[in-house]
């Protein structure tokens, strides 16, 4: 059933309560998600984006209850990824000639996925589409936010920015608007989304935010493609993005480890103890990687000024769990963060050296040679780990 956003604009999307993984298994969605699609009914009727392919049939059936599908004049595809465009094949089977407004790169994306030569109308930043009643759509290309084809669409008079993935969150709710939901839940998910998806594009985002602000378009509503819609002080999330895009960090040190026989775990705890003794203000957090949600850990890295990674030595190297996580840290191109490493060993103890190299290649400033320990740490070696924590806390 449709839900009113503003005037003649309604939400016609899908709330996906059971979604727990996204982008394959790469992104955990512990609070589900929504796929937001919007129907604008002026003199012209416009559909903005659709929903994920498994819900295509349900989506089109529901849409047909709100509007005769043949009355849809334009479709806007802000982004070709399947969670937004996945219902197009089902929909276009009913209305094959309706023009689809999208970027040139989105044409490649949609053709590449669905192998259909629909009536694509390529648009660029600043292009306008008259939808009657004195209202226009203005298109704004958003390349690499977060795909080459990404685009936002602005509705004049109603002052709604359909931002697609930007400003979104994987957050299932029936409440629709930002001021109706738990703010801690909302911002946790918004930050997780940014940290795990948008971090690599922070430099691009900084410039795009300036560009959008310089357009001088009044924005009353930011209608995202996932999660809640920002209608109460919508610029709050733009301001947050400005902060997050500027090499964001809090006064936090995060320790992430995996362990075989709890020696590296003991080191992690003692290093944390040392940090806490040396600096009572800093937030120090310790996580066993394999017992944690990796995407939540990425959010912790995002918030940190310093990250310590621990692995015992195995096979002359590190545990594959840690290797995978450091790879994820590298992919996300964090800037302005420091790192150090630690680990126990029983033979030759290469893990710390391997970690230092990987962290350096991941763009982290490696603070020192790290600390390693032969066998399980005794009292003396535990004290050394505490002292290591103290020394690194004040770097």
């Amino acid at each position: 059933m449709k839900k009113l956003i503003k005037n003649n604009v309604n939400w016609v999307g899908k709330v996906d309560w059971e979604l727990q993984k996204f982008h394959g298994d790469e992104f955990t969605t512990n609070q589900g998600s929504t796929y937001n699609s919007y129907l604008i009914q002026e003199e012209k009727n416009v559909l903005i984006d659709t929903v994920w392919m498994p819900y295509a049939k349900e989506f089109v059936e529901n849409l047909a209850k709100e509007i005769d599908l043949n009355q849809i004049d334009f479709i806007v595809a802000n982004h070709g990824e399947i969670d937004h465009s996945g219902s197009l094949p089902e929909l276009m089977a009913h209305i094959p000639d309706v023009p689809i407004y999208c970027t040139a790169n989105a044409v490649k994306s949609l053709k590449g996925q669905y192998h259909q030569d629909w009536n694509f109308q390529v648009v660029k930043t600043g292009d306008k589409l008259d939808i009657g009643n004195g209202k226009e759509l203005i298109f704004i290309e958003m390349p690499m936010l977060h795909w080459p084809d990404s685009m936002a669409t602005y509705l004049t008079k109603d002052n709604i920015l359909f931002s697609n993935d930007a400003f979104g969150q994987h957050y299932a709710t029936e409440k629709l608007f930002n001021n109706r939901v738990d703010q801690c839940d909302l911002y946790k998910e918004a930050m997780k989304y940014y940290a795990n998806i948008l971090t690599p594009f922070s430099g691009i985002l900084r410039k795009k935010l300036e560009e959008v602000i310089s357009l001088g378009l009044p924005i009353d509503v930011i209608a995202t493609s996932h999660g809640i819609i920002w209608n109460d002080n919508p610029m709050q999330i733009v301001e947050k993005y400005s902060k997050w895009a500027n090499d964001y960090q809090e006064n936090q040190i995060t320790i992430i480890y995996d362990t075989m026989w709890n020696g590296t775990k003991k080191m992690a705890e003692k290093i944390a103890e040392g940090i806490g003794l040396a600096d009572t203000d800093v937030e120090v957090k310790v996580f066993n990687l394999t017992k944690s949600d990796q995407n939540d850990l990425i959010t912790e890295v995002f918030k940190s000024k310093l990250v310590l990674i621990g692995s015992p030595t195995i096979g002359g190297s590190i545990l594959h769990s840690i290797a995978g996580f450091v790879h994820l840290m590298k992919e996300l191109k964090f800037k302005n963060k420091k790192a150090a490493s630690f680990g126990c060993y029983g033979w030759s103890g290469e893990s710390v050296k391997v970690l230092n190299e990987l962290l350096d290649r991941a763009g982290f400033e490696v603070m020192n040679e790290g600390i390693r320990n032969l066998w399980n740490p005794d009292e003396e070696r535990q004290q050394e780990a505490i002292d290591f924590g103290k020394s690194i806390a004040i770097i």
Binding site: N105, E141, P143, P148, G203, I204
Partner: protein
């Protein structure tokens, strides 16, 4: 300074063009091309910016 685009890597996002339109543009296949043999001095800074902003490291400036 010379700028080079590896056409096999370029994904045609157009960020280089928006960053430095006097040096880069997208051709009809939406692949970035370099329009100058030698990057004029006044555009060297923006050519370097374009290299840095390229999401797939397809641009070399030397």
């Amino acid at each position: 300074m010379k700028a080079i685009v590896d056409k096999d890597i370029c994904i045609g996002c157009g960020l280089c063009e928006s960053e430095c339109p006097d040096v880069f543009e997208l051709d009809e296949d939406s692949i970035a091309i370099v329009m100058v043999d030698v990057v004029p001095q006044e555009f060297e800074a923006c050519a370097i910016e374009a290299q840095e902003v390229c999401p797939v490291d397809a641009i070399t400036v030397e």
